[in-house]
Structure formats: structure tokens, C-alpha cells
Amino acid sequence: MTNFPAMLRALQDAGVEFIVIGGLAATAHGSARSTLDLDVVYSRSSENLERLVAALQPYHPYLRGAPPGLPFRWDAATLKRGLNFTLITDLGALDVLGEVAGGGSYEALSAFCVTLELFGTRCLCVELEKLIELKRAAGRPKDFEAIAELERLREIQEETL
């Protein structure tokens, strides 16, 4: 099971600048669909790369799906050379994304966020309208049902206003 509270706390406690997107953001907005991983967009500033490395180091991040023994160093240099990483950690699956289709970087996406109080932390989560845009921009057929549900959520919320 993915330990969402512990993941969020680890990132928060290390001062990582991140935004929750994907399935957990959908859940937070009211989606009834399930998700198994945490997706976050992180700031690519040098300081934040160091914070992200320190936050996850104790949980042994490794490339998800990669064969065991593949050389992988979880450090700022690796983060700097790459952009988006799909990881497995002791706390569960975590995708750390430097950029996301339809949303761009952390800095661009931060204008479209709400603050969530979750498990004693305050974290940024992409707002519902932007989450729909991100899903649409991804253009994956597997997201059609999720987009339909998110749009219904938006419509129901508009009805009750």
C-alpha cells in the first residue's frame, strides 16, 4: 500500500517545493477512482533538488520497473540530468516530475493550485480545472473515464454553488 501521509510528510518536512497532481489530486477533489502512486511536480531550483534528494534518501528511491542492480544514484546530479522520474520507494510508488504536459514547470503550475491540509501537512494541490487540462493534454485513451468523472465533479460543484 502506498503510504501517502508519510510521503507527504517526508517532502514537507524537508521543505521540498512540490505540487500534488494526478490520481491523488483527483481523489482530494472528490474522485471515486483508485490510484496507487503519488504524482508530484517539483521545482527544479538547485536548492530544491537538494531538498528532494534529502527527503527521499531514507526511503531508498529506485527506478520503478528497472531490473535490480541497475546503477542508479539518487542525488542532485541525477535529478539535474533527468527531468521526470518514476520511482519505487519504501513508502510506495512516487512519480517526481520536473514538467508536465499542459502545465509546464512547478513555477508555471503554482498559479493554479489550492492549499490542502492533509495529515497534518499543508501542501499545494493542482486545482480541479487545471487537473482536467493536464489530463486532456496528456491525451491518453486510458484517461477518458477519469476526465469524464472530473468534468462531472466540476459540473456537480457548479450546480451546488
Binding site: 501517502f4 481523489t27 482530494a28 471515486a32 483508485s34 492533509l118 494541490c125 477518458f144 476526465i147 465533479l153
Partner: protein
């Protein structure tokens, strides 16, 4: 940043017909934290069902390989 067409998509409109609004309305009564806790409870339940399934398959295999022992 890329421009995203946010006008109604006919494909998505078809999918919307199958969305269970009652689940969404129930979820909207909860706080975000309660929604995430429900998700985790569901994950836990799924893992338990998967574990039980694996155990049942192991037992069925063992019974097929050693029928006499499984009767005893």
C-alpha cells in the same frame, strides 16, 4: 505552454453517461483528508483480496499435485 482545447469533447461526453454521480456526491460531503483515507482503506482491502487469491491458488495447486494429502 501548449494550448489545450477545453471545449466539450464528444468522446468524453459519451463517457460521462457512465459516471456514477451518487459516488461523487457522497465524496463531496467528505474532507480531502477523509477522501484520501478512504482511498488508502480501499488499497488495503484490494491487497488483502489479492493475498487471499494467491493463497487459494497455491492451495489449489498443492491439492492438484498431491490429491491424497489434501483429502487427509
Amino acid at each position: 505552454m501548449m494550448e489545450i482545447d477545453m471545449s466539450p469533447d464528444p468522446v468524453i461526453e459519451v463517457y460521462k453517461k457512465d459516471v456514477d454521480d451518487t459516488l461523487l456526491r457522497e465524496n463531496l460531503k467528505l474532507t480531502p483528508e477523509q477522501r484520501v483515507r478512504n482511498l488508502m482503506a480501499l488499497q488495503e482491502f484490494i491487497e488483502e483480496v489479492q493475498r487471499a487469491g494467491r493463497q487459494a491458488r497455491r492451495q489449489a495447486r498443492a491439492a492438484a499435485e498431491h490429491p491424497a494429502e489434501s483429502v487427509a
